[in-house]
Amino acid sequence: MPIDKQSPFTLFAIDHVLSEEERAMQAVVRQFVDARVKPFVADWFETGDIPARELAVDLGNLGVMGMHLDGYGCAGTSAVAYGLACMELEAGDSGIRSLVSVQGSLAMYAIHAWGSEEQKQQWLPGMAAGTAIGCFGLTEADFGSNPAGMRTNAVRDGSDWVLNGSKMWITNGSVADLAVVWAQTDDGIRGFIVPSTAAGFTANTIKKKMSLRASVTSELVFENVRLPAEAMLPGVRGLKGPLSCLNEARFGIAFGVLGAARDCLQTAIDYSVDRVQFDRPIAGYQLTQKKLADMTLRLGTGTLLALHLGRLKDEHLLRPEQVSLGKLNNAQAALDIARECRSILGGNGITLEYPVIRHMNNLESVYTYEGTNEMHTLVIGEALTGLPAYR
């Protein structure tokens, strides 16, 4: 008889709290990832090269680009459906999820929330279709956790703006058609839409990464980039602009990382059931079962937390510090799960023949970007005590 075993999600009856429509959307993304990502992603990771343009168009056809936004060619799904899509994409690779997060939650969201009608008409339909790729430039080499100190600046010249400075660690940078760039101005921090063809704009791909290798990460350099007045996002000034976008992306990450964790855990469970040492499957040893049980608990509770945040978001009740709960808990849980699963795979765990070490390395980036573990801890600390402890 075949051994009867349940997946961690079956054990938690996660499907039970999803609607038929949510499950259908999750299923399509999973099917897409199984067919179009999983068979190739280890090679993309190894060579550090992804067919970003092709993937973007495929993902656009599926409808995942800016899927939770309304109008302008976007699908207009629920926030939970967006979260589930992130989860399935990241079960393939965090790099693919990053491509979609940056496109939809950072670049498209910025234009959708803070752009003029003309900017929305000009950019959003192509970005929803995946024929135009966006990136989001906030971080600089010297200003990561503390973006308020950014040095990139835009100065008025007649009705134009002249942009100078550089951005670091920018996902999609070298493959993007447009960059949403945040810069200091005489009117505080403002956002600008910079087409990749603008004179004086260069994007340099960052090499020698050990994480998110199936994702393009770049440095953006602006040397006297002249932009028309219409390039500025009119709807927002100050750090509120970029932070509102990050909140969207972090929400997706709270779901996404669990996809990577689920893939690791399922791989480790299957491996441990097959792998015999000392004449028994290693899954039959109590030490292994303790690992599997602990990881399943963290995966399942993390998923319930993400879904809870998703339901709040769909009711427009989700606050930024609650998003921090999700990002902090789930990124940490996913990274811990990936590391533990890596150990269960023994020597095989260090190769790209299995997805685990790839997820594990990817999750190091996800742990750091979109607010480090420490930053989200401080957000929660402030929420609990009313005392900001950043400086």
């Binding site: 038929e20 429509e21 399509v28 207009g76």
Partner: protein, 259 residues
């Protein structure tokens, strides 16, 4: 052009399938239900025909309550409407009964073209399309790897062992398609959301005017007398090559009557 596509919900191809102890039928609750893979090709082909010209695609299924998910999936790919025949009396129907029930549902609805996948992954008999055509008294163009519609004529390339035959018929006609015909699309999110609002007609055996005595397990022309669980795979035999590896392989193959 009015097109019907008959689709079937089957247990997930990768799932461990079980038979029910009580009546030896497939335990459809034991595994996730998915749209029969070849039916996806039929849906895709119908959508392409309509997109290249004009018309309407109706999804027809016979199956338990939850087969409605499969109708919904086809609607989310882009089909316009669904008809779901669901009735406890249908449980255990064989191919003859299924074709009778489907023919009753299909007749009188004015379909010009009725598409099927060429087989289902659970029963794998490939006979239902031909039987339905026969019962409806229309042409059967089976195993199509290409379909061309022009005016009132349907031309197909029927896949064969030696290549293909070109077969033509006037509408209305039944066409079953093989995998080679196209690559089915993924439902888009917009499609999934739109599918919720599309009409699905749920009908019973009585509604469809099906004679109760020719359907269900009691009317089946064959009966499962007994079944046993497949034995677990035995460990493979390792043959060490001591210069006579070729001979040993040949001996193995001939012992198994492969050569």
């Amino acid at each position: 052009m009015k097109i019907a596509v008959c689709v079937k919900q089957v247990p997930d191809t990768w799932a461990e399938k079980k038979l029910r102890a009580d009546d030896s039928t497939l335990d459809r609750e034991s595994a996730d239900g998915v749209m029969n893979e070849l039916d996806e090709y039929a849906v895709e082909e119908a959508l392409r025909i309509v997109e290249a010209g004009e018309g309407e695609v109706t999804i027809v299924t016979m199956g338990p309550e939850r087969a409605s998910e499969t109708v919904r999936k086809a609607l989310s790919m882009g089909a316009d409407a669904g008809v779901h025949l669901v009735d406890d009396a249908l449980h255990g129907s064989d191919a003859l009964a299924t074709s009778e029930a489907l023919a009753k549902v299909l007749s009188g609805r004015g379909f010009d073209l009725i598409l099927f996948g060429s087989e289902s992954t659970d029963a794998r008999m490939s006979v239902v399309p031909a039987m339905v055509a026969e019962r409806l008294g229309v042409a059967q163009l089976t195993f199509a790897q290409k379909v061309t519609v022009s005016g009132g004529a349907i031309t197909i390339e029927r896949a064969t062992d030696y290549g293909y035959d070109t077969v033509e018929a006037a509408t209305p006609a039944v066409v079953s398609v093989v995998e080679k015909i196209n690559e089915p699309r993924y439902p888009s999110f917009k499609g999934i959301m739109a599918a919720k609002k599309k009409p699905v007609e749920t009908i019973s055996v009585a509604d469809a005017g099906i004679d109760q005595s020719v359907i269900g397990a009691s009317a089946a022309w064959s009966a499962v007398v007994d079944f046993a669980v497949r034995l677990p795979k035995a460990a493979g035999t390792v043959v060490t090559d001591e210069g006579d590896g070729g001979v040993k392989i040949a001996e193995f193959l001939s012992a198994q009557k492969f050569i």
